[in-house]
């Protein structure tokens, strides 16, 4: 029941969520409540497939995904940071726009509905890490994933270094805590918030690329299927900390992978579909209870 393949598939599955959650966490640190992760990931997925298809190179496809994600996130940046639009309204609208736009495009660009897939479409290859791959159990878990999976771990570390060891990180944390104070010290809140939103867009682009070129090799309408929302929850559960968010994403990935296993012993698919959400909710209860107990109760 619990074997290496379980953890391996969990790792592959959680990568898109991890990238998106890192994007969300980065934005959260600077005081931007970014719930457009779902839509941006979807745009990245479509762009990745389109890029790979038209150029014949999966790496150009990934690049297209990153560029598309970044470009798409300009909408939130301009409408929210420069123009002051409400983050929640914009987030929901941007998500819906992505669904509509990608469905529109799959019809007009690829001429199909539902799913676009083609044997000639190049996907991400699995990387076999010599040396590590031979270690029993651990090797099976860690080796054999796409490059983006490993890149996501690197992204966690880079984010941690950025936030705590780099001047930009210090400024981001200050902006997130008290933007007016940061502004009064000459730090441009607008510029840094643009920065995190666009960087977040790039990360969501990578998430989409892993989703559509890594785990599978196709684009299907609405294929993000709520992962962006799970990423939002992961940011909350992980308190917008790089390693916290990683832990939350791992929790979700494991719950999902375990769910698939349970299907194997006869539990209906729908029960295991629901499992990750229930598990995350329980984790949130536990985490909230601990926070409330350590804080003196005050309501002002």
């Amino acid at each position: 029941m619990i074997d290496a393949a379980l953890f391996s598939s969990a790792l592959g599955a959680l990568t898109p969520i991890l990238f998106a959650a890192l994007a969300g966490a980065l934005c959260q640190r600077a005081g931007v409540f970014n719930i457009s992760l779902e839509g941006t990931m979807l745009v990245g997925a479509f762009a990745g497939v389109a890029g790979s298809w038209y150029t014949g190179s999966v790496w150009l496809g990934v690049l297209t995904a990153v560029l598309a994600g970044t470009a798409y996130s300009v909408i939130l940046a301009v409408a929210h940071v420069s123009l002051g639009g409400d983050a929640i309204v914009l987030g929901v609208a941007i998500n819906l726009l992505a669904v509509g736009l990608t469905s529109f495009l799959i019809r007009t660009v690829f001429g199909t509905r539902g799913t676009f897939s083609d044997p000639a479409l190049r996907g991400l290859e699995s990387v076999h890490i010599p040396g590590i791959a031979d270690i029993p159990f651990v090797g099976e878990v860690l080796s054999g994933h796409s490059v983006l999976v490993y890149a996501s771990w690197l992204a966690v570390v880079l984010l941690a270094v950025l936030l705590y060891r780099h001047p930009w990180g210090l400024r981001l944390r200050g902006i997130g805590e008290r933007p007016e104070a940061a502004a009064s010290l000459g730090v441009s809140v607008t510029r840094y918030r643009y920065g995190v939103i666009l960087a977040g867009g790039a990360l969501c682009g990578l998430a989409g690329a892993q989703l559509a070129l890594g785990n599978v090799t196709l684009f299907s309408e609405n294929m993000t299927a709520g992962r962006g929302w799970i990423a939002v929850v992961a940011v909350m559960l992980g308190r917008a900390l790089p390693y916290g968010v990683l832990a939350a994403a791992v929790l979700f990935g494991l719950a999902e992978a375990f769910g698939f296993r349970l299907q194997g012993i006869g539990l209906p698919q729908q029960a295991t579909d629901a499992a990750p959400y229930v598990v995350t909710l329980l984790a949130l209860f536990v985490s909230s209870a601990r926070i409330r107990r350590s804080r003196t109760r005050e309501s002002t």
Binding site: V161, L170, A183, S184, G186, E298
Partner: protein, 506 residues
Amino acid sequence: MTRQQPEPQAAVTLRGIVKRYPGVLANDHVDLTVADGEIHALMGENGAGKSTLMSILYGLSQPDDGEIELGGRPVTFSSAAQAIDAGIGMVQQGFALFDTLSVTDNVVFGAEPTRRGLLDRRAARAAVAELVERHGLRVRPTDRVGDLPVGVRQQVEILKLLYRRARVLILDEPTAVLTPAETERLFDVLRGLAADGHTILFVSHKLHEVLSLSDNVTVLRDGRVTMRSATADTDRAALAAAMTGRDVELDKIYPPGTPGEVVLAAHGLTIGGPGKPVLADVSLEVRAGEVVGIAGVAGNGQTELVAAIAGLRDLDAGTVTVGGVDLRGLSVRARRAAGLAHVPEDRAEVGSAPRARLADNLAVGFQRRLARRGFLAPKAIRAHSAAIVEQYDVRAAGPDAPMRTLSGGNQQKAILGREMAHDAPVLLVEQPTRGVDIGAVVNIHRRLVEYRDAGHAVLLVSAELSEIRALADRVLVMYEGRVVAELTKDEATYEALGLAMAGGAS
């Protein structure tokens, strides 16, 4: 206290500054000249234009007309960053500190020393330590700012300016949150900086501080300069008249009330904290027809005390009774029903809904009373609102005007009127005249005295000693969560209060 005469060369010159906002001329051709090494006070009531003027000097906003010169050279600032580069620093009211970061992080924020791209923490700590040493400040570079007392936080603010090599320091109402003892310490630091050649611009509305610290003073009223003088050549009456445009009765003290039965009684109120307790065994009584004033600098437990009585915060121990009714376990609504009314400290976030209409703001708390057969009666709401507006002289465009379009004084009058309309036996009032112009201050003080004389009990929390002295029949002084002194009206002199507020030691 003798000081070198400042050099007759202008460090800062503001000429003909004009700044308009929708509906108001905030700065009306203002001129201001300050020399190197001078301490210059900028005085005025709320809304006189002092903060606007300083924002312009600091680059946070741009003037519609006029010039700025530094050391004789014309400059324009389109951002605070540029002003900082030109050597201007500002400590704003309320401070601009990050509680979750350390002193060092706060000081170097935005101008961090780096090594190979990453933060050079050691260099930062060293730079901060050096400045602390040189100017005799009492700050530890590694402390978390959120844990620091207010006086120290202010010193961190000054450190920020010095780290950026500010020659001109602007301090906006710096003593609002300090005890008299901390104020003196601050003044020593400022005098030292001025002697070093720094130029200090000191925005304040406190007459005795301006007279004690500054070399020269400029007074603004309604956006215009009404007085320019060497401090030695003027006095409190002249300054007050220049600020308000009329002769003001300074330090008015209202006659005492005639106390009756105890209405509000609190015993052993305690709220624990991570370190020192927030409230430590606080007991007090307020009688009908009496004003009990709680003096003390913000942050010594006054806010939490009122919140606990009002039901906005839980107590770890202690009881509160109103008219004999034990409030333990009762909700905010139940406590209000038992006879509490509350004018909170935070007008904008707690005491009102700025976006909503005046009439709606005034109806809050009365929504059940203003309903007929389960439905709100619009006519009753209007009548209720009109009555309060009339009785408390609230100036507004109309009952449908959004609350935020009223001036601070009128908002406060409206809130006071609403709470007094409950005719509750106990009225909790916090900082009733903060950010309120002098005309409204007198009005509000009179209302509070009238409410007391109608037989109600008033618990007044204020950081303004003059207000406490004016209104309170008895004064309790809070320090670090405890009541450290109880003084009668006669005993409550500035000296006695100041001593108690500092914990008994000067």
